[in-house]
C-alpha cells in the first residue's frame, strides 16, 4: 500500500477541466516511457529472434518492405497522409501527455519516415525535403517508446479523411520490432502462455475446474439456484469463449456469473473449454499473423472436439474484434456449426435477443443503488459490430443495461459510440511498467466521466471489456473515484435477473 501511494504521488495526473482542452506541445514529455523488453525464452516461443539480431537495421527495413507488400492497408496508409492535422487532437495519449509524438500522424511518421527513405523515390533522393530518415538506433528507440504508447483504439481513423488507421501502422512496427528481436515483455509473455497452457493467465485445467466449482457453490448460496458453470462438456449446445480474467478478476467475474445465469434462465446448454480457455488474442497487438492464427485455432479445435453447435464470446473488446472480423478468415469456415445463429455471437447479442423475446425476467429495483453510465470499448465500437445493423454495438449493450437498471445516463456525445475514448490500457499496454502512460491516457475518459458524475450522480461505469475493467479499477483512484465504480454489463444482468420461484437474495 505504501508503495502504491508512493507511485501515485510520482505520476503527475492530468488536471481535469470542464471543457475539453487540447494541450500545447511538450516535446519529449513521454520519451522515457518504455515497457520491459521480452526475454530470450519468450521471444523464442513466439518464433522471434531471442535478442537484437546483428544486422537488425537491414532486417527491419526488409521486414517493412515485406509487410507493405502483404497489406493494402499499409501501402495506402503510408502513401496517403496529407498532414492535414485532423487527427492531431484525437488521441487520448496525446491529450493526456502533450507529447507531440503521441499525435497519431506523428506516431505514423516514425514509421513512414523510414518507409519513405527506403521505398519511395522522394525519400531516396530528397530525404530532407520529405522528412525521410535512416533506420538507426535512435529511430528504433523512438519506435519502442511510442509504438508502445498507442492502444490501437482507432479513434484517429474515425476522423481521418482517408480512414488511415494508426493501429495498423503500430501493429506493423511492433511486428518488425519483434522480428528483429525487440519484443515487449507483457504482450509476448501472455501470447506464450496461451500457446503453452491455453489462456493469458497460465491457469491450468485443474485450477480452472476448481474455480468454476467454487463459483457454482457461491451462486447456489446466494440465490438458492443450481446455476452450472460447465467445463469441457461434450455435446453442449454452446461453447463460451471468454477472457480468462472473467474466471477470477474483479469485477470481471460478476460478468461470468451473469452469463451463467442467462444460460440457466434460457435453458440453453453451454460449456467452457480448458483447451480454449481464452478469448483474448494479444497477437493482434503485435501484428503477428502466425501467432494470431495459432492462438485462434485452439477455439476451432475445442469447438470441434466438444461437438458444440454455436460459439459465444464473453465481454472483451479486442477479443471481439478478432472473433467478429478475423475468426471466419483465420479458423473458418464454420460449416460444422449451426448457421441459424451468428458465428461467432457476442454474449450481449445472445442476452439482448432473449430480452427482446421476453425470455428473461428482471427486478430492476435491485440495481437502484446504481446510477449507471456505459463505456464503449474501442475495439467493439470502431472495429466490430453487434446485431444486424451498423451501430448495434452501441444500442445492444445499452438496451441490456436499461433492461436491468432504472438509472442510466450517457457520457458526452463526443466521447461515446464511435468517438469513444480508450480506457488508456488497451493494445497490450495494461502493464505496471507503463502505469504513468495508463494514468495519463485515461484523462479524456475520466474527464467525460467526471461530467456525468457531477451532473447526474453517476456512480457506476459498466463496461464490456476485460482490459477496460482492469484498467479502470487501477486508474480510477488516481482521479479520486472509487476503484469499484467499474463493473461488467453482465454483472448488472446477474444482479437483476430472476431465476425462478425458489429465488432468494442475500
Amino acid at each position: 500500500m505504501a508503495e502504491r501511494i508512493a507511485l501515485m504521488s510520482e505520476i503527475k495526473v492530468p488536471v481535469l477541466s470542464k471543457s475539453r482542452t487540447v494541450p500545447f506541445l511538450e516535446p519529449g514529455a513521454m520519451a522515457h516511457s518504455k515497457p520491459f523488453p521480452a526475454g530470450p525464452e519468450i521471444q523464442a516461443r513466439l518464433g522471434f529472434p531471442d535478442k537484437l539480431v546483428p544486422d537488425w537495421e537491414k532486417v527491419a527495413v526488409n521486414k517493412l518492405g515485406d509487410l507493405v507488400k502483404q497489406s493494402r492497408a499499409l501501402r495506402v496508409f503510408l502513401d496517403s497522409c496529407v498532414k492535414c492535422g485532423a487527427c492531431t487532437d484525437k488521441c487520448h495519449y496525446f491529450l493526456g501527455t502533450a507529447d507531440p509524438k503521441n499525435m497519431p500522424v506523428a506516431r505514423q511518421d516514425l514509421l513512414r519516415s523510414v518507409y519513405r527513405r527506403y521505398y519511395t523515390f522522394a525519400g531516396k533522393f530528397f530525404p530532407g525535403l520529405v522528412g525521410a530518415r535512416d533506420m538507426t538506433k535512435e529511430v528504433l528507440d523512438d519506435w519502442y517508446s511510442y509504438f508502445h504508447q498507442c492502444s490501437q483504439c482507432r479513434r484517429c481513423s474515425v476522423f481521418c479523411p482517408f480512414g488511415i488507421d494508426t493501429a495498423e501502422i503500430s501493429m506493423a512496427a511492433r511486428h518488425i520490432m519483434s522480428s528483429v528481436g525487440l519484443g515487449q515483455k507483457y504482450t509476448n509473455e501472455i501470447i506464450s502462455k496461451v500457446h503453452n497452457i491455453g489462456n493469458n493467465l497460465g491457469l491450468p485445467e485443474p485450477a480452472l475446474a476448481d474455480t468454476l466449482a467454487s463459483l457454482e457453490e457461491d451462486v447456489k448460496e446466494e440465490t438458492g439456484v443450481d446455476v452450472r458453470f460447465p467445463l469441457d462438456i461434450k455435446g453442449a449446445e454452446v461453447l463460451v469463449v471468454t477472457p480468462s480474467a472473467d474466471f477470477f478478476a474483479e469485477p470481471h467475474i460478476d460478468g461470468l456469473i451473469g452469463y451463467a445465469k442467462v444460460f440457466h434462465a434460457a435453458g440453453v446448454s453451454w460449456t467452457l473449454s480448458s483447451h480454449a480457455s481464452e478469448a483474448s488474442n494479444f497477437s493482434m497487438f503485435i501484428g503477428s499473423h502466425s501467432n494470431l492464427q495459432r492462438v485462434a485455432v485452439r477455439i476451432r479445435e475445442a469447438a470441434q472436439e466438444l461437438g458444440v453447435r454455436r460459439i459465444i464470446v464473453g465481454e472483451c473488446g479486442h477479443a471481439w474484434r478478432v472473433a467478429y472480423n478475423y475468426w471466419n478468415t483465420l479458423i473458418g469456415p464454420f460449416d460444422f456449426l449451426d448457421r441459424n445463429y451468428p458465428i461467432p455471437q457476442h454474449i450481449c447479442e445472445f442476452t439482448h435477443d432473449l430480452i427482446d423475446r421476453g425470455a428473461l425476467r428482471f427486478d430492476k429495483s435491485v440495481n437502484d443503488d446504481k446510477v449507471v453510465t456505459f463505456h464503449d470499448s474501442c475495439n467493439v465500437s470502431r472495429a466490430s459490430r453487434m446485431g444486424n445493423h451498423p451501430g448495434g454495438q452501441f444500442t445492444i449493450p445499452r438496451a441490456i443495461i436499461r433492461a436491468c437498471c432504472n438509472h442510466f445516463y450517457d457520457m458526452a456525445p463526443e466521447t461515446i459510440h464511435e468517438k469513444t475514448f480508450c480506457c488508456g490500457g488497451g493494445g497490450g499496454l495494461l502493464t505496471d511498467d507503463l502505469l504513468e502512460l495508463r494514468v495519463k491516457g485515461a484523462a479524456p475518459r475520466m474527464n467525460a466521466l467526471r461530467q456525468v458524475v457531477e451532473e447526474h450522480g453517476v456512480n457506476h461505469v459498466a463496461a464490456i471489456c476485460a482490459i477496460c475493467k482492469s484498467q479502470f479499477a487501477k486508474v480510477l483512484p488516481y482521479y479520486q473515484f472509487p476503484m469499484n465504480m467499474v463493473g461488467s454489463v453482465h454483472g448488472l444482468v446477474s444482479k437483476a435477473i430472476q431465476l425462478g420461484p425458489g429465488i432468494k437474495r442475500v
Binding site: 497522409c81 507531440p100 520529405v130
Partner: protein
Amino acid sequence: MSVVTVIYTLLLYLAAAVFLAGITRKIISYAYTPQPLKIPTTPAPTTRIGVIIRVAREVILFESLFKANKWTWSFGWIFHYSMLLLLLRHLFYFTDPVWSWVLAIQPIGDYAAAAMLIGLAGLWCRRLLVDRIRYISSLSDHLMLALLVGIAASGLAMNYFDYPDIIAVKAFSRGLITFKWQPLSAIPLLMLHLALVAILLIVFPLSKLLHAPGIFFSPAINQVDNPREIRWVSGWSAEINNTEGKKHGGTDSAHE
C-alpha cells in the same frame, strides 16, 4: 518553332507521361496488394452499395474531416472544389467545339481562383500557426502549398496583367493533344503557370498527392462489414486451410 515552344512542348509531354505512368503504376500496386483481414472502421455499411455511398460521402463531402475539424474542412473543401471548377473550366483549351457547359462556367474563373487562394491561404495559416500542425509539417508540405498557390495566382494574374491571346493558347494546347504542335506565345506569367503545372504533374505520383487515388483503396473505408456472413480471405490469409488436416495457416518464414 521557338526554343520556348520546343521546351514547353517537351516539358508538358514529359510531365503528362510521368503523371500517367506514375499514377497507373500506383493504382495497379494498390489494386494488386492483398488485404488479408477485414478492417473497416465501424460502424460500416453491410452492403456493397452502402460502401459506395460511404466512399462517395468521403470523396465528395469530406465527411470524416468535417467531424474532425470545421476549419480544416472549410478551407480544404473550398480549395478542392474551386480547383475542380477551374480544372473543368480549362476544358475550354482542350475541346473543339467547346462544350456548352464549359463555355457557361468561363465567367466564374476569377472567383474560383480567388476562392482557391483563400482555401490554400487558410490551410497554410493553420500549418504555420497551429502548433500541432506546424510540428507535423515538413518542407515538402509547405512547398506543395507554394506550388498550388503559384499555379492559382499566376493563372489569376494573367487576367489582369498579362492577358494572353486565348486563341493562340488554345491552339497550343489543342496541338499538344492532337500531336500537331503549335507555337507558344512567350508570356512570362503563362510560362510560369505552365511550368508550375508541369512540376505538379511530375510530383503527383511521388508525393502525398497520392491521397487522391488512395482514398478509393483505403480498406478502413471501402470494406463491407460482413465478416460473419462471408468468409474473407486474401493474400496470406488465402493460404490458410483448416479443413484438410492442416491445422495452421503456415509458418513465420512462409508468410510473415
